[in-house]
């Protein structure tokens, strides 16, 4: 079967772009119509993505490429193009699906906002950029879209720009991810100069870094490139130590948190590593780094998640933790595991965020201590949120279980100690999710709004239902006895990591975590403050997120500010001072000469005499040297 639809893959990002253009140009006059327009654009993209994905699943596995020359300088040329692979097709479906559902959801969530058309324009622009990122056939084009999604994220985080926190969060999001972006940029520069023919496309990357024709680029450079790419990925995917922006980014509207900061953009880092995985595979050191950073981030963020009280922040740290899992998977060499988790995580985390949005919509607060007892008033939200929470906690047979199990199995096969770390993180995950779930939906209403909370409108609950369904079934795409997804993605049937130990452990920690949560927060068997009274230091450390923000402020922000002030002083006093000194010197000489011009003949005569002496000495004295 020939590839019929893949050549039109460029249309997938084109629809949202058109929506964006129309909204930007006529947004003010369109208002709600514009929102529907954007949703419709995303829907078209979704349909086309599904068609492409189905086409690729049914056999036509040929990768399609198309493009044009973007920039040509002398003998170098930088082409732009798109490439449809199975990976890209999968990502297209994920992105368009979540984007469509979020658009739909936002119709309800953002109803009252007077800048709704701007919101949808940004979301459309984001969808366009994210799809472009997915389809990009070379690293430079990917970088361009990479930055664009960053900007969209920035714009949307700062959407409620009048809140100082939103402003600060937007700024932080942009700048912290930019640190990673610079790593990626330098990696691109390195690749440009080291790759044969200055090629930057992924196919050439694959060929050059293939172990069979290894040695084209030395190991040191390869490691450097891989680490720099990983720096970029870490910035985007909120890996330690660049994770600080992601929780703050929760200042944006909740649908945005679901779309950008849970399902799609933050996963772009993982996607990037997958896309350039050949580079990583060529360097063991890089792989180690990825695995260790991933594992550390997974457990580190999970512990912070235990102590947060903002519903969205808990989810945000959970996202960071789950992204750490994906990186861990990549670090132990399991691309299918990472992509599978990305796939399932997109659904259940979007679900959780949208559910959280629904709760926030109802109670107008984000503090879980002010919620409680919402389960009776918001049945759909509660049920779907519960499914998401269980899925995230890795309770079989929900999607999260399968993907997490795949990662843990891969880790066990590669480096058992990473498996232990992953299992502990999984336990924490289950624990904080149960805490969140029980605190919000069980017990008695604690806040003033909780009692009057109403279920959200259908336009908001429909996406929840769809995502909940997906969070249940998506896991069956790749079970330990059916590696279909992995095979489809990588093209070769990979050695199965399935291990009974992994399954048992992951189920056990998941259930244990949830059980403890139930004991503490529902049954009250263990007092809630048992930990905070025994170990106040630890709890405080977790609440303050290990003081990372303070550390950065102390380490980078303040020195920069001090340096700026010092250099300002240098500039005004030393550099400009030197200039003024020259001016003052000229002025002084002028003043001196004015004093000489006192109108008295004798002074003039004296000057003449001295000048004569100097002149004679100068002329006659030349013979002495």
């Amino acid at each position: 079967m020939a590839t019929v639809f893949s050549p039109y893959a460029w249309l997938v990002p084109a629809f949202p772009f058109v929506a964006f253009a129309v909204l930007t140009a006529f947004g003010r006059s369109l208002s709600r119509t514009g929102a529907w327009l954007a949703t419709a654009g995303t829907f078209l993209s979704l349909v086309l993505s599904l068609v492409i994905a189905i086409e690729r699943m049914t056999g036509a596995a040929e990768d399609y490429r198309g493009g044009y020359e973007w920039l040509r300088i002398g003998d170098f040329s930088l082409p732009f193009g798109f490439e449809v692979t199975n990976l890209a097709a999968l990502m297209l479906v994920v992105v368009t699906l979540v984007a469509f559902l979020v658009n739909l959801y936002s119709l309800g969530y953002m109803k009252g906002d007077d800048r709704i058309s701007v919101f949808f324009a940004y979301v459309s622009l984001f969808t366009f950029s994210m799809l472009g990122l997915v389809l990009a056939d070379n690293l430079l084009l990917l970088y361009i879209f990479w930055e664009l999604v960053g900007v969209c994220s920035f714009l949307l985080v700062g959407f409620w720009y009048q809140k100082p926190e939103a402003k600060a969060a937007a700024k932080k999001a942009f700048i912290v991810t930019r640190i990673g972006d610079i790593g990626l940029l330098i990696a691109i520069l390195l690749l440009f100069w080291y790759m044969p023919d200055h090629a930057l496309d992924f196919v050439s990357l694959h060929n050059v870094f293939d172990p069979q024709n290894g040695g084209t680029i030395s190991l040191g450079i390869t490691t450097l490139i891989a680490l720099l790419i990983f720096l970029g990925a870490a910035g985007k995917s909120g890996q330690f130590p660049l994770h600080v922006w992601l929780p703050d980014a929760m200042e944006g509207p909740t649908p945005i948190s679901a779309l950008i900061h849970a399902a799609t953009m933050v996963a772009a880092g993982v996607f990037l590593v997958v896309r350039t995985f050949d580079v990583f595979e060529a360097s063991q050191a890089a792989m180690d780094t990825v695995a260790i950073i991933g594992a550390f981030t997974a457990i580190f963020a999970a512990t912070i998640g235990l102590a947060q009280n903002d519903i969205k922040r808990v989810l945000a740290y959970s996202t960071v933790s789950q992204l750490g899992y994906m990186m861990l998977a990549l670090g132990v060499g399991s691309v299918p595991g990472a992509m599978f988790h990305l796939f399932t995580h997109a659904f259940f985390k979007a679900l959780l965020f949208l559910g959280a949005g629904s709760v926030i919509h109802a109670v107008h607060t984000q503090d879980i201590r002010e919620m409680g007892g919402l389960g009776r008033r918001m049945k759909i939200t509660a049920w779907t949120f519960g499914i998401g929470a269980l899925s995230l906690s890795g309770i079989p047979p929900l999607a999260g279980f399968w993907s997490k199990d795949a990662i843990l199995a891969a880790a066990l096969a590669d480096r058992p100690w990473l498996f232990v770390v992953g299992a502990i993180a999984a336990f924490f995950t289950a624990l904080y999710m149960s805490r969140l779930f029980f605190l919000v939906f069980f017990g008695k209403p604690r806040g003033e709004h909780g009692a009057q909370a109403k279920e959200s409108p259908g336009v908001m609950t429909f996406p929840l239902l769809v995502l909940a369904a997906l969070a249940v079934v998506a896991g069956f795409a790749n079970t330990p006895w059916n590696g279909w997804l992995g095979q489809w993605l990588t093209g070769n049937a990979e050695a199965d990591h399935a291990s009974a130990l992994a399954i048992v452990v992951s189920v056990a920690v998941g259930l244990l975590g949830f059980y403890i949560g139930w004991l503490v927060y529902v049954k009250g068997a263990v007092r809630r403050d048992v930990l905070s009274s025994r170990l106040p230091g630890v709890v405080r450390l977790l609440e303050r997120k290990y003081y990372i923000d303070e550390l950065y402020a102390w380490l980078f922000v303040r020195p920069l500010r001090a340096l700026g002030d010092a250099l300002t002083a240098f500039d005004t006093h030393v550099v400009d001072g030197a200039v003024r000194l020259v001016g003052a010197a000229a002025n002084g000489i002028g003043k001196l000469n004015t004093r000489l011009q006192n109108g008295q003949l004798q002074t003039y005569g004296l000057a003449g005499l001295l000048a004569l002496v100097v002149l004679v000495v100068a002329i006659a004295g030349r013979r002495f040297w």
Binding site: T603, L606, L609, L610, L612, V613, V617, A620
Partner: protein, 174 residues
């Protein structure tokens, strides 16, 4: 270094004496407090110079020197002093910077001149001056230098008329 290698002839003694007089007169002129004293000591210098001219076989020039400088210029100056309100004494308000710099400048200038004189080599004269040089001067003035001579006389006339015109008190305008 200051080895002038001098023959102690009569001419030398005369030169020595006269030059000491000239320098003393000049230095005194600089240092006197009263203006009239200054003028008179300068007149003394002029007379000494006239003596030096005689030593140099320039009797006519020496004569003119006495006539013009001692007789005319100095007297003129003294009249000038008399006609202006002179506080007789140089006032205390001195100008140390100017004076120091002027002294340094003049000393440097002298140093340069002295160095130049010492460095130059003067060949011995090839011939001698005519003995009766007053006559010769007269001849020259009326032959080769006739036109400059006449011009100088015109200059003098103009100068004197100008001096008179300048110094004449202008009539008060109603």
């Amino acid at each position: 270094m200051l080895n002038f290698n001098i023959d102690f002839t009569g001419e030398f003694f005369a030169f020595f004496l006269l030059s000491v007089c000239a320098i003393v007169g000049a230095v005194l002129a600089i240092n006197f407090a009263k203006v009239v004293h200054m003028a008179l000591s300068l007149a003394f210098t002029f007379v000494s110079l006239a003596g030096l001219f005689i030593l140099l076989q320039a009797e006519f020039v020496a004569f003119v020197q006495v006539l013009l400088y001692v007789g005319a210029v100095t007297i003129l100056m003294i009249f000038g002093i008399m006609m202006t309100k002179h506080q007789d004494e140089e006032k205390a308000r001195s100008r140390p910077l100017l004076e120091t710099l002027a002294a340094i400048g003049c000393l440097c200038l002298f140093g340069i001149l002295f160095y130049a004189i010492r460095a130059a080599s003067f060949p011995l004269p090839a011939a001698k001056l005519p003995d009766n040089n007053t006559l010769e001067i007269g001849k020259l003035l009326y032959s080769a230098y006739a036109i400059p001579f006449e011009l100088v006389s015109v200059l003098l006339t103009v100068a004197f008329i100008g001096a008179v015109a300048l110094a004449k008190r202008e009539e008060e305008k109603p």
